[in-house]
């Protein structure tokens, strides 16, 4: 049992929704032919109706979040800082562009929700030239924000009319300044969620603000030991239908980014077991260790064409393995996590309903042995009752 008092918590994901009250927690596969509200009312209308609107709390990741493209002048400072802030605001990153080479990058064909331009401390000027404007002219985007040198801001503003200008994310000591960009992006995400027709309807059943799920999870992490015996440092994996989120203790990175956050977030956009299944399989086929892993799991690659509980299990195991590869030295993400010092692996989301602790431990052991040639075995903790999510939603 997760709650003491009388509230109803609902999490709307891209694949499932979860409904939790005092007595139980239930998970339903979404019916994509129905509007979210209709689907929810169809499944558990009676329960929902029995709660006052003030006592219903909802979070959602159903829209998959916002996409951003970041243009910055260096990997270590502007790009890394803006990437860190974007991830922590719940935003997905499509690409980062190192400005000096902007002419060599291809232009994404999909609409970008927000473009972030960053570079230079405030005493610098002339970081950007016409190359920026010719690139932007080819790109379709909805919002654009500048968080670089204050001296460059008016110059760029002249060329890009709808540009939002915020204080620099790099201060004069080359340290990160998170707050302004984070607030801007969080609000944008919020507006996006609220603007979606499907989600808007949910205000029929709640009087509270609907939050993005990653925001809720991140908020719960500092208190996670109230529920589990989790030993720091730990990482939390939320493998969903469309994306995989990783939240990690700051102790796991040796970075030049110094912030107040205890936990940072990282997202892999095209790694999920339902909506992003095809791209997961594609990534898997390109990983040289995957065939060995399949053998280890006693299946062949034909499993990718199957539709069964067994196939779902294997996909989830693969997802764990691929995510770990992506954050290890083997395939470096924008940060490098010190995987050998991780003490606990916490898993939340649909995966906890499909895989057992042993099946997860099996994969983690395989990863440490194959990729890190280590016998290190972090403790696996399954958040099967969605306590973390409950903790985050309730805490708000």
């Amino acid at each position: 049992m997760s709650q003491q008092d009388n509230t109803l918590l609902i999490d709307v994901g891209s694949t499932y929704f979860k409904v939790s009250n005092q007595d139980s927690i239930e998970q339903y596969f979404r019916d994509f032919n129905k509007d979210i509200l209709d689907d929810l009312l169809h499944r558990c209308g009676d329960t929902i109706q029995s709660f006052d609107k003030d006592d219903v709390y909802i979070c959602s990741s159903a829209n998959g979040g916002l996409n951003t493209l970041i243009i910055g002048v260096s990997n270590t400072y502007s790009l890394k800082y803006a990437t860190n802030i974007a991830f922590n605001s719940g935003i997905n990153i499509i690409d980062t562009i190192l400005y000096q080479n902007i002419e060599e990058y291809s232009v994404p064909s999909d609409l970008v929700d927000v473009v972030i331009i960053v570079g230079g401390i405030d005493s610098c000027t002339g970081m950007f030239t016409d190359n920026l404007y010719s690139y932007l002219a080819k790109l379709s985007y909805s919002n654009i924000v500048f968080v670089g040198s204050e001296q460059d801001a008016p110059i760029i503003k002249e060329k890009i009319s709808n540009l939002v200008i915020l204080p620099n994310v790099i201060d004069n000591k080359l340290h990160i300044v998170e707050d302004y960009l984070k607030e801007y992006l969080t609000n944008l995400y919020q507006q996006d969620i609220e603007g979606k027709e499907d989600i808007k309807n949910l205000y029929d059943i709640t009087a509270n603000r609907i939050y993005p799920t990653p925001y809720i999870v991140n908020k719960a992490l500092p208190e996670i030991d109230a529920r589990y015996s989790v030993v720091n440092p730990f990482i939390l994996l939320d493998i969903g239908g469309a994306t995989t989120d990783i939240h990690y203790s700051k102790d796991l990175v040796d970075e030049n980014i110094v912030t107040k956050n205890e936990f940072d977030r990282l997202v892999f956009k095209k790694l999920g077991v339902f909506k992003s299944k095809q791209s997961l399989i594609f990534t898997a086929k390109n990983n040289e260790f995957v065939y060995e892993l399949l053998m280890h799991l006693k299946v062949t690659e034909n499993i990718f064409n199957e539709q069964s509980q067994k196939a779902t299990k294997i996909l989830m195991q693969l997802a764990i393995f691929l995510v770990l590869c992506k954050i290890s030295h083997y395939k470096k993400a924008y940060i490098n996590l010190k995987l050998l010092t991780i003490n606990s692996f916490v898993l939340t989301g649909g995966i906890t309903k499909v895989l057992t602790k042993e099946e997860i431990e099996n994969i983690i052991a395989f990863f440490y042995k194959k990729i890190l040639t280590s016998g290190h075995r972090p403790v696996v903790v399954l958040d099967s009752n969605y306590d973390i999510w409950t903790l985050g939603l309730k805490g708000d």
């Binding site: 002048v73 260096s74 990997n75 270590t76 400072y77 502007s78 000096q100 080479n101 570079g119 230079g120 401390i121 005493s123 610098c124 000027t125 790099i170 000591k173 080359l174 030049n256």
Partner: protein, 137 residues
């Protein structure tokens, strides 16, 4: 003028770094001190973000040699650092070595000023001289 400084690689000898920071400020430079444990890419990236004219690297524990060899290759990837004044000092080899051998080697790595076991003030005097000469040209 803006200077980016720090101690390269996994080197944690911090005392000289603090002195360098103070001395440069006393001489009127604007200092961006990246501290100990700084990788080459961070130095160059800091030069880009700050618009620094000078990069002053120190190395005490003997690691410089290995990093020195990578300087040219890495710097070539940056499009706007051609005018950056590159200086290195401290203990530039493992064990003992003579400046006669060491200086040309590091110049070949791409450094304009090489100060192997040179006292800090002497080194900074030569930096100021170098800047003056360059401005004359």
């Amino acid at each position: 003028m803006k200077v980016v400084t720090g101690v390269v690689g996994n080197d944690i000898h911090v005392v000289a770094n603090r002195l360098i920071d103070l001395s440069l400020r006393a001489r009127g430079f604007e200092v961006f001190n990246l501290g100990v444990n700084t990788y080459l890419e961070e130095f160059f990236d800091a030069a880009v973000e700050t618009g620094a004219e000078i990069l002053l690297i120190s190395s005490l524990n003997g690691e410089a040699e290995g990093w020195g060899r990578e300087v040219k290759l890495l710097k070539a990837k940056y499009k706007d650092l051609d005018n950056l004044i590159m200086m290195i000092g401290g203990n530039l080899v493992v064990g003992s070595g003579s400046a006669e051998d060491i200086v040309p080697k590091y110049k070949n790595y791409g450094f304009d000023l090489v100060c192997h076991q040179v006292d800090l003030n002497t080194g900074l005097d030569s930096l100021e001289e170098f800047i003056q000469q360059r401005n004359k040209k």
